[in-house]
């Protein structure tokens, strides 16, 4: 029986989850409480915002005859706070001809935003809000998630959220694939997920259990070869690349960093071609330790050091030896 089987497998999953969290099996034990995802959502949800196109259609004051109104797909979607006043969303929502938006945070803050950069090839739009957003910036995951990794999707399907609280679905990373979808411009590999994604979620976040963004939710796409409808997300690296490109002058300091496992510096995962990092000689695998006198224990520390401008002496560890690189004054961020 198809239905019964469908029911059983996720149940088994839930069960193991329960065991993993040491749910007491004794009689009379307190009721099981599995707050892992709920706690994560509480932390991440404030940084998922609603994006409306301006001028938008009136939604709120219509008589509510139906629980769900038709979705045009042009009414708006979701976005992610990635900086003090920076929001990224899916390129499908942005139109360079009408670059005005309204961003609503979970706290109810409504801010006008303009299109800073539309990366049409990667389908990522970067918006700049007119004032600082009352929402913490999300962290991008340093690498692709593994297949099977548990992920949480947060977006605002159907634009029905009353107070900008995003909708949460849960699933796994099904894998990475190159979709052959006629409506998709993105030509690279995308993340496939089993977490339910519905219209209006595009621009929302796919996060791992650490709360890091592994993908930017994309519109449902029908694969031309298989005919299957896929919930998918653009990889975090596409978001990062669009953010880098959004900065004036294209890629300047461009490499992908991760905090080293022991916290003793920043581990370089990838160096973007043409950026200042590459010109300075930074290589993947380098452990950045100091920039000038600044100890690099967070990416913010590096950002601050670079923002100060001027020539910078970058101290790093490569294959066990300390190496010093000179960063040119134009080294930007």
């Amino acid at each position: 029986m198809r239905l019964a089987r469908a029911a059983l497998v996720p149940l088994a999953a839930l069960g193991l989850v329960a065991a993993g969290l040491r749910l007491a099996a004794q009689e009379g034990a307190p009721p099981p409480r599995l707050a892992l995802v709920a706690d994560l959502v509480a932390r991440v949800a404030p940084s998922v915002v609603r994006i409306e196109l301006t001028p938008g259609r009136t939604r709120g004051d219509l008589p509510r005859r139906h629980l769900l109104r038709p979705v045009s797909g042009r009414d708006g979607g979701s976005g992610l706070v990635v900086g003090r006043d920076l929001v990224v969303t899916h390129g499908a929502l942005a139109d360079a001809a009408a670059p005005a938006f309204t961003v609503t945070t979970a706290r109810g803050q409504r801010v006008a935003a303009t299109l800073l950069h539309l990366d049409a090839r990667r389908e990522v739009a970067v918006l700049r809000a007119a004032e600082p957003l009352q929402a913490p910036a999300l962290e991008l995951a340093p690498a692709w998630p593994r297949t099977g990794e548990l992920v949480v999707a947060l977006g605002d399907p159907f634009g029905t959220a009353r107070d900008a609280a995003p909708t949460v679905t849960f699933g796994v990373v099904e894998g990475r694939a190159r979709l052959d979808a006629p409506e998709a411009a993105f030509q690279g590999e995308v993340l496939l997920t089993s977490a339910a994604i519905n219209p209006g979620s595009e621009g929302g976040a796919l996060v791992d259990l650490a709360g890091r963004v592994v993908g930017l939710l994309a519109p449902l796409a029908r694969d031309r070869r298989s005919g299957a409808l896929h919930g998918h997300a653009l990889p975090a690296e596409a978001v990062l690349a669009a953010l880098v490109a959004a900065r004036e002058g294209g890629p300047r300091w461009a490499c992908r960093l991760a905090l080293a496992p022991d916290g003793g510096g920043l581990l370089v995962e990838r160096v973007v071609a043409g950026g200042a990092a590459e010109r300075a000689g930074v290589r993947p695998g380098d452990l950045l330790v100091r920039a000038g006198e600044v100890v690099l224990d967070t990416t913010d520390a590096l950002r601050a050091a670079l923002a100060a401008g001027g020539a910078l002496r970058l101290v790093l560890v490569r294959e066990g030896a300390e190496v010093t690189l000179e960063l040119a004054p134009e080294g930007g961020r």
Binding site: A6, P32, F170
Partner: protein, 326 residues
Amino acid sequence: MKLPAKRPAASVGLLAVVVFAAAVDLRPVSGEGGAEPPERAVSRALSRAVDAGARHLVAIRPADDDARRRARSGVVVGPDLVATCASNVDVFGVDDLVVEDAAGRVLPASLRGRDLRLRVVVLRVPDLGAPAPAPVTERRAGAFVLALGGVLGGPAAPTATQGVVSVTGRFEGRADQVDAPLDASTWGGPLVDLAGGLIGVTVHVDARLGERSGVGFAVPVPRIQAVLERLAQGDQLEAGWIGVVIPRHDDGEPGVPVRGVVPNSAAAAAGLQTGDRIVGVAGRAIPGRRAFREVAADLYAGQAIELEVLRAGTARRLELTVAPRR
């Protein structure tokens, strides 16, 4: 526009098992006699959650449907009272119904009231009794839930699908949204948390969503209990309407400003004027738009309430009788 349906969630499960198990601290739980393998502990914790939740589960069917071909799920929400999704009884097309409980008893049931807004009906089932309610421990977005159905195996052998709460308080608090797969075998049945605590009654909302879209809804049990007495008496509850226009966004001050009053509405009859500021409804303070919408969503036609308004800085109280919506 037809909303595209998502493919089944079943394929997810196995991977989730492996990865989640690896991701968390899989320490064996000690049972009565020493360490117990995690699979066993799991199986027990799980079956306990389903068992606890299934105490609320019943199957409803026409009295002449002995083969249970047309059975639908229902939830015991009070002494001798069962709630289910309104569309369930609509498909029966007859009033002569029976309810089967988890103990296998088949009891005659009579259809009582209907809440048009919650899309829920209540049946009275003499001698059914009511289980001791387990408290709801977790209902936040991201909380794990089970949707139970009493159709395929009968209420004695419930089916369950698993998901998380997607968002609470959808539609002004009338429903919680979940990503657990729901279909005709579960609609009307209980949505429970991991402790078997009864969160809500799953409802069939919109066929456009598709059964496996990852979008499902459940009416929170407290919402049903708030009107249970009237539904048990057989009342048909209709959405209420005040007839006041408020701005789409808060202006930062407490209360909501009245942008307009619909002619011949309850608000007009009560003497509400454009420019008034509503600061309280039915004894509840109104800090802003959201609170107002929530309170307004709780109102039923025919209900008498008091509005607290500020008019030119002076506090006033207005008596208002809520009108049916159109």
